[in-house]
Amino acid sequence: MATPPTIAIVDYGAGNLRSVARALERSQLRPQVTSTPREVVAADGVVLPGVGAFRDAILRLEKAGLDDALREVLGRGRPYLGLCLGLQVLFDESDEHGQTAGLGVLAGRVERFPDTDSAGARLRVPQIGWNEVHFEGDHPMLAGLPERDHFYFVHSYRAVPSDPSCVVGTANHGGDFTAAVATEGLFAVQFHPEKSQAAGRRLLDAFRDWVEARR
């Protein structure tokens, strides 16, 4: 059997990365937790995990020179999987704790959920729990996924892309919101596949197949 693909898990001090690493191993990938830009660029694929605050994440990425490494990975079309904050930092700007510029790979903003739903009823924020994602689009990762699946979410902010063509997954919390985005070399989700039991495994298996296909 061929060696499993190496996946750089970008470590920028955003909490525990072991569950992400273990979940990738379960999908027959070879995770390498790293904060070295060179290793990020050299891997077969990259996972940008993340919990915590947007501004902190951007500052830490910049300080370690990882923002440029990520732009290089994305520029080369090397498979990139963003998780939660790893989706949000791709956008132009976030409202969290004042305006903070993101990586600007995708056009749009990251905004807090509104206080009320579309019918005017109170919306509970953060969204914590399992929500059904509806996938739609022609990204190669979607070929391996059911059209609808439940994933675990924990967040108060969500991306609002200016160009809806990058949206490949939506879910509903007081109205439809962006749960997954994709471009040719990029797939990013607002939820946590590493915490989403069988559905999470399906998603990471699809990531493995995509990485294999592009190797």
């Binding site: 569950s19 273990r22 509970r124 914590i128 929500n131 915490k195 989403s196 039991q197 069988a198």
Partner: protein, 271 residues
């Protein structure tokens, strides 16, 4: 839409599950990691470890348990009990907890929650409240916050406290009725409803869940329901009376939106 969560809770002392957990097969009922794997297979939506250890030496054992659990189960893990400082919160998150619950320390140092919310983010921060009914003639029932495992009254109004903690930056309230805890006579729906009305963050119902009907009542958004976003239960699952999947099927038939159990979900676990 966001579904309602069913959360088994384990009391852990010095790294071992203390309340009776009775299982068949290969489950070591005293090992929190094995029990967590068991609930993962049943597709519980989340699991809570409540550490009742007093000594700081034994904290390291808890951290090890959290690490081993996070490495073997792919589900959300909340840890609470004895969390005194921002460092405690960080240690647990670094060990692999997804959310950390604070109780007594929040009452003793109300700034802790605000500080933790800024440093760590609200979404991972749970404030636990033990509440007891206050005797009185008032038309509206009143509830008081207790600390130190429900032994020490504080004079603080529980519903107001929940509001204060939400404003300070808590991401979720874990609300236990001390009157109902261990009775299996149903959750305190008035307490839940009043709290859910006071805060805009999720509320986890705890204390008194003895059947699927009790969980349904706590999670119901109807005028008589508890309006909670999640229900914590221990005894009904630990004693193998019913599996998480069975409870979920029952809840779905009662019109409660839970994540449907998959065909692969481990079904029975009867002792």
């Amino acid at each position: 839409m966001l579904t309602k969560r069913i959360i088994p809770c384990l009391d852990v002392n010095a790294g071992r599950v203390v309340k009776g957990v009775r299982y068949v097969d290969h489950v070591d009922a005293g090992d929190p990691v094995e029990v967590a794997q068991h609930y993962d297979a049943q597709e519980a939506d989340e699991i809570i470890f409540l550490d009742i250890t007093a000594s700081s030496d034994e904290r390291r054992i808890l951290l090890d348990v959290v690490t081993r659990t996070a490495e073997t189960v792919f589900m959300p893990l909340t840890v609470g009990g004895g969390v005194r400082s921002l460092d405690d919160v960080r240690d647990l998150l670094n060990a692999g907890a997804d959310k950390v619950s604070i109780m007594t320390a929040a009452v003793e140092n109300p700034d802790l929650v605000a500080e933790a919310a800024i440093r760590i983010g609200s979404a991972n921060l749970v404030v636990a409240i033990d509440a007891r009914r206050v005797d009185g003639d008032a038309a509206e029932p009143r509830f008081e916050v207790y600390t130190h495992g429900g032994r020490r009254p504080t004079g603080i109004d529980a519903v107001e406290w929940a509001g204060k903690m939400a404003e300070a930056g808590a991401g979720e309230i874990l609300l236990t009725s001390m009157d109902r805890d261990g009775t299996k006579s149903g959750y305190d729906l008035e307490l839940l409803r009043a709290t859910a009305a006071r805060v805009s963050i999720p509320v986890i119902a705890s204390g008194g869940g003895g059947s699927a009907a009790d969980l349904a009542a706590a999670l119901s958004e109807g005028p008589e329901g508890g309006h909670a976003q999640a229900a914590l239960a221990a005894s009904i699952f630990h004693f193998g009376e019913v599996s998480v999947g069975e409870v979920k099927r029952d809840l779905l038939s009662r019109g409660i939106a839970v994540r449907p159990p998959s065909p692969e979900a481990a079904g029975a676990l009867i002792s």
